[in-house]
């Protein structure tokens, strides 16, 4: 990371005579200190191994729930209490990162252990098993994910109150991430798992990172395409929490429509669909957009930003105030898009209908297999069953 401007580094001044006199004494002390340090590190290593062993013995792996290219998911339980279920995600040794851990695993562990919130999947423990495999002990969420509920148009019926309850939980999760300066960068219904009590939990932090320092570019190859905001599609390397808010808005739209709002098949097609569905980015509604590296002109079908009537006609079931919220989340210019905090401060939450209680929300027994399916995925991957066209390989390297 860049050197923080808040910390000033003073030049090391030459040692003063008094210092030189004491130098021999110091070196001895330093060498003895080094010995002690080596001993301490050895002790620490033993301690770490013991700690790891302790953690590992706390859990018992039961059966395999699913296996992907990136991870194997097991159902497990606490060895002292067989009724307490957990999901154990064992990260495979990656071919690309043979000498270390894959980026996904590091990101997942780094951010999940910092974030403790009812709407974010809990990481109970991390331990390494033989062959140095990394195991993440995650909260067990047996009721599938939000995408399953959205797609089951015949079996599951829900209304605005349910949408509001789900959006509230998602909004809290994203707000909490942003309050702690973490960008999730892969929000989609697939990654919103549902706990036994109906609570929606944001999962899969494989693409997460903390907010960037100034002048430090980030990759724009993140977020599953259908939920990717226009600034990332146009290759912006400097962005903020607004990218997650766009994804939240897309999930909101999908909850209402019960089908993806702008399912593009390529990046350019995705931009085209956004132009049609949300509006065409132009200098008038997004100053400076033409200077973005990936800017593509869609002058022929230029519509400008879609107006309110259009959104009301498509998303009228959310109510007029809900449409306002959706429009502010889907603002083309990320600077005009509302922040995660503003989403939760919106007055939509206080108008009728009140959100459904979480235990009354529609459920679908996804079962453990579905959780296995969801967790084994790598960030940015989509189920093959959904559409093969959208699966893609991610480029994590900083260009």
């Amino acid at each position: 990371m860049a050197v923080s401007p808040m910390i000033t580094y003073e030049q090391q001044s030459d040692p003063s005579p008094s210092d030189t006199k004491q130098l021999p004494l110091r070196t001895t002390s330093v060498s003895s200190l080094q010995d002690a340090a080596i001993a301490a590190t050895q002790q620490a290593q033993d301690f770490a191994e013991r700690l790891n062993e302790e953690t590992r013995s706390k859990y018992v792996k039961d059966k395999k729930l699913g296996e992907g290219t990136y991870a194997i998911v097991y159902l497990g339980h606490l060895s002292r209490d067989p009724s307490s279920l957990v999901a154990i995600k064992k990260i495979k040794i990656n071919t690309e990162f043979r000498d270390g851990l894959s980026m996904d695993a590091i990101r997942e562990v780094k951010y999940l252990q910092e974030l403790s919130h009812p709407n974010i999947i809990a990481l109970d423990a991390v331990f390494s098993s033989k062959n140095q495999n990394l195991n993440l002990v995650l909260e067990y969420l047996p009721l599938g994910d939000l995408e399953m509920l959205i797609r089951d148009t015949n079996g599951i019926q829900y209304g605005t109150a349910e949408v509001k309850a789900w959006m509230g939980m998602l909004g809290r999760a994203v707000w909490f991430c942003h309050e702690n300066f973490v960008l999730h960068r892969d929000i989609k219904p697939n990654n919103l798992l549902i706990g036994a009590d109906g609570e929606v939990k944001l999962a899969d932090f494989g693409l997460a990172r903390s907010f960037s320092d100034p002048y430090r570019p980030m990759t724009c190859q993140v977020i599953t395409r259908w939920y990717r905001p226009p600034e990332l599609l146009m290759g912006a390397r400097f962005y903020s929490g607004a990218v997650d808010v766009w994804s939240v808005g897309m999930v909101f739209a999908e909850l209402i429509l019960r089908s993806p709002f702008v399912p593009g098949s390529t990046d350019v097609h995705q931009l085209e669909m956004i132009c049609e569905g949300v509006g065409t980015p132009a200098e008038t509604n997004w100053p400076g957009v033409t200077s973005l590296p990936g800017y593509v002109s869609f002058d022929k079908r230029s519509l400008g930003a879609r107006d309110r009537n259009y959104f009301v006609s498509r998303f009228g079931t959310a109510g007029p105030i809900g449409v306002d919220l959706l429009m502010s989340m889907l603002a083309l210019d990320p600077r005009k898009r509302c922040t995660a905090r503003q989403v939760l401060e919106h007055k939509w939450w206080s108008v009728e209908p009140q959100p459904t209680d979480k235990q009354d929300l529609p459920k679908k027994g996804g079962g453990m297999e579905k959780m296995g399916e969801d967790l084994k995925r790598r960030g940015g991957e989509v189920d093959d069953s959904r559409s093969e066209r959208v699966a893609r390989k991610l480029d994590f390297g900083a260009r």
Partner: protein, 351 residues
């Protein structure tokens, strides 16, 4: 019933005999066979429908029975359900008391309390029935109703819901029985048709002169198949209907009155050590604030400043010893993780 009594004549006078003469206008059923008697639950004096129309059509009027004189309204006159007016009155009173005292057994801690409550209610009812200390009792009733209006309406809603669900279960049972009956009727009919057809076929074969043995074998085989099919369809019928009903389940407790929805889930994140300014001035940040290449994508320097402030103050006011002592568990662990992560960031900065 009174008509039947009339036919019997006066020799064995049934108890309803008096009822055939209206105590107010003295007209008899003999003259007016369609005569109906009504009572008013205020005084339970009986009179015929035409008397009610005549006296009370113009509005409230005193009861025409000598010595009563209570003001009655036409609207409240109704046909009596029980022959004994004393019982009619008792039922009315009990119904009224039970709509107010509608506590349920599961609301009480133990059986003793529940029984005490029942006894108190019974004492009140008894007082009302036999006109003992009526004003005091009425006052008690009114006071209780006013104090417990919430629980009364809640229990009433519960009771009506239970009533509805039992009704629904009963209807479902009836429906299932009907389906089963129809199913079995249909099967019988099919069996009969099969047998008739087989007989006919056998007769035809015999008439054509083919070997009777073979047809017999075939027909038995077919009959067996048919029976198998019928049996399987017979199994499908009842299994489609619910296997059994669970009745007498403990009803779910009424939910707590809901609080206003808090979109933040009761969590507020605010630092007590610093306040975030609208902008943070530093020459190093100027380019990040104004460069279109950085700003157009939505990058916001204020987020960086906020983070710098939070990290600068992270861990302030956190005393690990205290949290370990009180068993702060998860929260403490998260806090420590956050601090550790913070220090990691800083080392990266230096590197």
């Amino acid at each position: 019933m009174s008509k039947a009594a009339q036919k019997h004549g006066g020799s064995s006078a049934p108890p309803g005999q008096d009822d055939d003469i209206c105590p107010v206008c003295k007209s008899a059923r003999y003259l007016n066979p369609n005569m109906r008697f009504l009572v008013n639950p205020t005084c339970y004096h009986k009179m015929c429908e035409s008397c009610v129309d005549r006296i009370f059509s113009q509005g409230p009027a005193p009861c025409p029975v000598a010595g009563c004189g209570r003001t009655l309204r036409k609207q409240r006159f109704r046909r009596q359900t029980f022959e004994d007016l004393q019982i009619e009155r008792e039922v009315d009173i009990r119904r009224r008391v039970s709509t107010i005292f509608n506590r349920r057994e599961e609301e009480f801690l133990d059986l003793r309390n529940w029984n005490d409550y029942l006894e108190n209610v019974e004492t009140l009812t008894f007082n009302l029935l036999y006109n003992i200390e009526v004003p005091e009792t009425e006052a008690k009733l009114a006071a209780y109703a006013a104090q417990n209006s919430d629980s009364i309406s809640r229990n009433a809603a519960l009771a009506s819901a239970e009533h509805d669900s039992t009704e629904a279960a009963f209807a479902a049972q009836k429906q299932a029985a009907r389906v089963r009956r129809e199913e079995s009727l249909r099967e019988d009919e099919e069996d009969r048709q099969d047998r008739l057809r087989e007989d006919r076929e056998a007769q035809e074969r015999i008439a054509q002169g083919s070997t009777a043995k073979v047809t017999l074998k075939k027909s038995t085989a077919r009959r067996k198949d048919g029976a198998k099919g019928a049996a399987s369809s017979g199994n499908a019928g009842p299994s489609a209907a619910p296997a059994f009903e669970i009745q007498g389940l403990k009803p779910v407790a009424a939910p707590e009155p809901t609080k206003a929805y808090d979109p933040f889930g009761g969590l507020r994140i605010r630092s007590e050590y610093f306040a975030q300014q609208r902008s943070c001035e530093h020459p190093w940040l100027d380019k990040a604030k104004n460069d279109p290449a950085i700003v157009t994508g939505g990058y916001d320097v204020r987020e960086y400043c906020a983070r710098a402030m939070v990290e600068a103050f992270a861990g302030m006011g956190v005393f690990v010893d205290d949290e370990v002592g009180t068993g702060g568990g998860q929260a403490a662990a998260t806090e420590r993780a956050a601090i550790a992560a913070g220090t990691d960031n800083r080392t990266e900065d230096v590197l």
